[in-house]
């Protein structure tokens, strides 16, 4: 019945400091959708968009916006930290990030970034 799926998706799972951590990366034509969770949920939904004005001059600036959930400064810091490299590697595509972590430490962030890298769909 169904031919090839049109949506490309990759996922990874790892236990970090005793917390089961899951990453799912999905490629849509206008967004790369990343779910990063230790609750199995989408949680706080953040969009990370590169600013268009920067053009071809080195690294663009990013605007993060909380679409759903608690709008805390740390959410923006964390979202930009884990997701901007994906945008850069994918030719400045916008990112949609679902973020729900129990452990927001810097070491965990390093590990989850590696997990996101392993789920490259861009």
């Amino acid at each position: 019945m169904a031919p090839q799926p049109v949506i490309r998706s990759k996922q990874a799972e790892k236990t970090i400091n005793g917390n089961q951590t899951q990453v799912v990366c999905t490629e849509f034509s206008n967004y790369i959708f990343i779910v990063l969770t230790q609750y199995g949920k989408i949680g706080t939904l953040v969009s990370i968009t590169p600013d268009t004005r920067s053009g071809d001059i080195s690294v663009p600036m990013y605007t993060s916006k909380v679409l759903l959930g608690k709008d805390e400064p740390l959410t923006h810091v964390y979202a930009k930290n884990v997701a901007t490299f994906v945008s850069q590697e994918s030719g400045n595509r916008p990112i949609l990030l679902g973020l729900s972590l129990k452990d927001n430490s810097a070491e965990t962030m390093k590990t989850v970034k590696d997990m996101i890298k392993s789920c490259q769909v861009w």
């Binding site: 019945m1 169904a2 031919p3 799926p5 049109v6 949506i7 490309r8 998706s9 990759k10 996922q11 990874a12 799972e13 790892k14 089961q20 899951q22 799912v24 999905t26 849509f28 034509s29 206008n30 967004y31 959708f33 779910v35 969770t37 609750y39 199995g40 949920k41 989408i42 939904l45 969009s47 679409l67 759903l68 949609l96 590696d114 997990m115 392993s118 789920c119």
Partner: protein, 131 residues
């Protein structure tokens, strides 16, 4: 670390792992694709075509504590288009779960929406474990 392509994760997935499921159906000479992500206590559903698989909108719906009608809102896209949030609301009503919906088909065709919704319900009966 494991990276799995497109949903074939049943062999090593633990009970509460996020699972992915794809299906498609041809309606009125047009193939419509469905991409489903099962989450803890809910799911994410994308509906669209192969020509331009984008997320033009995203609605989320949850059960209300005080009202029999679920609460639904659009978090991304054109708020004047209520298709995605209405669909999310109806899916929450049916499943009692938190539902994310991205609906990327022409909204002028209400007949198509009806067919799409029936196909989703059919898939729920065929694969209840995927939702």
């Amino acid at each position: 670390m494991e990276a799995v392509l497109n949903g074939d994760c049943s062999s090593h997935a633990s009970a509460d792992s996020i699972s992915l499921h794809d299906f498609s159906e041809k309606f009125l000479e047009q193939r419509v694709y469905f991409h489903l992500m099962k989450l803890s206590g809910g799911f994410f559903l994308w509906v669209g075509t192969a020509t331009n698989p984008l997320i033009s909108n995203l609605a989320v719906s949850i059960l209300s504590r005080t009202d029999s009608a679920p609460l639904s809102t659009l978090v991304l896209g054109d708020t004047s288009d209520t298709t995605a949030s209405a669909l999310a609301q109806r899916l929450t009503k049916k499943t009692k779960k938190q539902v994310f919906v991205s609906y990327n088909l022409p909204v002028t065709d209400s007949n198509l929406l009806l067919l799409v919704e029936n196909r989703i319900k059919q898939e729920m009966e065929l694969h209840p474990d995927k939702f």
